[in-house]
């Protein structure tokens, strides 16, 4: 009976396609996840009145772990450790640029495309789950820009090296980062930067130029804080990370009068994003640059371990621009999945025929991307309006929109990771051969046999990938509901603890998006290279 049902579901989902595709999530995993999602929903609603204070949640500073604390402390207060990593990262970055401009233009044979898109772009999102925004600390764009503008390897730069202007008020938010994220997605999926080493190198160079100009014109690291799509994505996801830089002893920060973390010292740069460690509540804008750990005269800053998702559940403050960034992330990650389905090209082709588009179908792609971006946002707005209506409009619509967006973030994050696992585990085969010949001198495109061999021998078994993907979707659903429950309690609604009906709008949104994400994972996915 169950076998027949699974066969029926599989026949409904899969379609015969041309070309190499990754297998989609098997139906048995999907049924298990759906059952568990239903159980979690019932359990959450039945315990709807419970709320937990963030103060009760355990947090451990790594400094207090006897066998590890001292070593980590030594590493983070000495600048040379971070500088060494930055130099390595910059060398790899220069290699990518060189390979893209001078090396082979066969995407699967060039380190520019394989390292950038298959390993880094897939892996950097997954890294947040383990090390938060640590990537930003060794980001080559910022490292190179800093060396060029400040003309120092690590010490605080000359004040004259930059105009140190304040960023205009109109763009002192993360709308520019959202715009850049949309442009990057368009370039990646529409223009096809991922399959062109040359275009990849140009994009990387362009971002170095932007970071350098920003550093030379604006105060501190305005590019990291307001403009960088990668940094803001990692920052948004960083709220769910199990690690963050925090004071070891909060009372030391409370009595601190010098605020070296914010102001810097003679040798150490101030916080690049204007954070004061004594009052930091969320990781969104922390770039893990190490300035605070190095400048603190009390050596009171270290990595802190906490529960995954605690920060975003209890202490993150909702903001209008951040809410839009989160929704943008959700829409664009879903759109990513849609464009890698085998049906996508047929849909594009039919749509182009309908509107009279021709050539690379960039107009059709742009219109489809615009529609795909706004569908989840419109659906979210409807659900928020419904919630606004049933709670009696005591709260501003805008405040509910911003607060509830935090419960959407785990859906974007977990789907993003689940999707990237396919790229990372199934497409990074053969990277060693690229590493041996990074410029791809005298190489030929992959033969059909090689493509087939790569496809048939992923570096991780499919069952493990399926299990991880199923777990991630379920985890995102659970965390989304948990955040929603907590955020609902933080709203100023009379009788909020007693009405189950308040759960319906966002439960509907979270469930539908989780199902869409799972449906996308069930589809066979076209190999990128």
């Amino acid at each position: 009976m169950i076998d027949t049902l699974l066969d029926y579901i599989n026949s409904f989902v899969y379609s015969t396609t041309e070309g190499m595709v990754h297998p989609g999530l098997a139906a048995e995993w999907v049924l298990t996840v759906i059952f568990l999602m239903f159980t979690i929903s019932v359990w959450k609603i039945s315990r709807h009145s419970s709320s937990i204070s963030s103060a009760k949640l355990p947090k451990i500073s790594i400094a207090k772990i006897s066998w590890l604390g001292g070593k980590i402390q030594l590493m983070i207060v000495k600048p040379w450790v971070l500088v060494s990593f930055r130099i390595i990262s910059a060398i790899v970055f220069v290699l990518v640029i060189t390979a893209g401009l001078f090396g082979t233009q066969i995407a699967e044979r060039s380190i520019a495309t394989t390292l950038t898109w298959t390993l880094w772009w897939s892996g950097v999102v997954i890294s947040v789950f383990f090390v938060g925004s640590a990537w930003c600390a060794i980001c080559p764009w910022d490292a190179i820009a800093t060396w060029l503008v400040r003309r120092r390897l690590w010490k605080r730069g000359d004040e004259l090296s930059s105009f140190n202007l304040r960023v205009p008020r109109a763009i002192r938010n993360i709308w520019p980062a959202l715009a850049m994220f949309i442009i990057l997605t368009w370039l990646e999926l529409g223009y096809g930067v991922t399959t062109s080493p040359y275009a990849t190198a140009l994009l990387a160079l362009f971002i170095v130029v932007l970071a350098t100009i920003s550093l030379a014109v604006f105060e501190r690291k305005a590019f990291c804080r307001y403009f960088c799509a990668v940094g803001r994505t990692l920052g948004a996801y960083g709220g769910m990370a199990p690690v963050a830089l925090r004071p070891i002893d909060e009372s030391v920060c409370q009595s601190c009068k010098t605020l070296e973390c914010f102001n810097g010292t003679k040798d150490i740069e101030p916080c690049p994003t204007h954070l004061v460690m004594g009052s930091i509540k969320q990781n969104t804008y922390c770039t893990s640059c190490g300035s605070c750990t190095q400048s603190c005269s009390h050596q009171n800053i270290n990595w802190q371990l906490r529960h995954v998702g605690d920060e975003i559940t209890y202490s993150s403050r909702p903001h209008w621009d951040e809410a839009w960034f989160i929704l943008g992330l959700l829409s664009l990650t879903i759109f990513h999945g849609v464009t890698m389905m085998p049906y996508w090209e047929d849909w594009m082709s039919n749509f182009a025929y309908l509107i009279g588009d021709s050539g690379q179908l960039l107009t059709s792609f742009s219109v489809a991307m615009f529609i795909a971006m706004f569908l989840p946002i419109v659906f979210y707005s409807i659900c928020v309006s419904w919630l606004h209506l049933i709670i009696g409009r005591q709260e501003e619509w805008r405040r509910i929109f911003s607060a509830m967006a935090l419960s959407v973030l785990p859906l974007a994050f977990t789907y993003h990771i689940a999707h990237n696992l396919s790229h990372l585990f199934r497409e990074s085969q053969g990277f060693l051969s690229v590493l041996k010949n990074p410029l791809g001198i005298d190489v030929q495109p992959l033969s059909m046999q090689e493509v087939h061999m790569r496809h048939m021998n992923p570096i991780v078994d499919d069952t493990i990938v399926f299990a991880l993907q199923a777990f991630l979707i379920l985890f995102g659903f659970w965390l989304g509901l948990r955040i929603f429950q907590q955020r609902l309690h933080s709203l100023d609604i009379p009788g909020k603890g007693s009405k189950k009906v308040f759960y319906l709008p966002l439960l509907l949104f979270i469930s539908v998006i989780s199902m869409v994400n799972m449906w996308l994972l069930m589809q066979p996915m076209i190999m990128r290279m």
Binding site: L101, F102, Q105, I106, A107, L148, V149, E159, L160, S161, S162, F163, Y191, G192, T195, S196, Y198, A199, A201, L202, L205, F206, V208, V209, T212, I213, A216, V217, S349, A352, Y353, G356, D357, S358, G359, Q360, L361, Q444, P445, L446, S447, M448
Partner: protein
């Protein structure tokens, strides 16, 4: 002396940028491995596109031709509605895609051969070219452009632009800030002098 060095710093990258041709990438072709062509495994550059009533597949052999090396462009065109191949005449042209160049010539007019239009070429000079295929169907003109790079691309273009932009910004910021500092010091000196003479 300092002025001369600054002038050098600005002028040299600027000349570098002007001198080198821009590398055009109109359509991103995908290098692929095509069996069954002249030799058994020549790499090719392939672009699939959709234009009006037709699906069009364009291939260049070899994928990255060198100056003096013979190559060929293949074009397949089939109707979107019923898959019927186009069987009229196709005109192939080529134009130099370098900046400030308007050289253009006709490569040839080809008839369909087993559903495929084949146009051979040999380029003597390295550079960026656009191959254009033109045909007419149902009273409508169809024009397809396909970029072709002969020889290795010159990579200094984007590097030169980046270096020039960065150098320009850094030098401008530095000069402006130093002038501002000098002005502040001068003002301070004058006010100090004025207060001393008043005393």
């Amino acid at each position: 002396m300092v002025y001369f060095k600054l002038k050098q710093l600005i002028v040299i990258p600027f000349l570098l940028v002007l001198t080198f041709n821009a590398i055009a990438h109109h359509v991103l072709g995908r290098p692929s491995y095509s069996l069954g062509e002249d030799s058994n495994t020549p790499p090719s550059m392939q672009v699939e596109t959709q234009l009006g009533e037709y699906y069009i597949t364009y291939m260049a052999f070899p994928a990255f031709p060198k100056p003096g090396e013979s190559g060929r462009v293949n074009l397949y065109a089939s109707r979107i509605d019923n898959g019927a191949p186009f069987d009229g005449k196709v005109i192939f042209k080529v134009r130099d895609d370098s900046m400030f160049s308007s050289k253009q010539e006709r490569l040839g007019i080809q008839d369909v051969d087993d559903g495929v239009y084949r146009q051979g070429f040999i380029f003597k000079e390295a550079g960026d070219y656009i191959i254009t295929a033109e045909f007419e169907s149902g009273g409508e003109p169809y024009i397809i452009d396909f970029p072709l790079r002969i020889g290795d691309p010159f990579p200094i273009g984007p590097l030169g632009i980046s270096i020039f932009v960065i150098a320009f910004v850094l030098i401008t910021v530095n000069i402006t800030q130093r002038k501002r500092l000098a002005r502040v010091k001068a003002t301070q000196h004058h006010s100090d002098k004025a207060s001393t003479s008043n005393n």
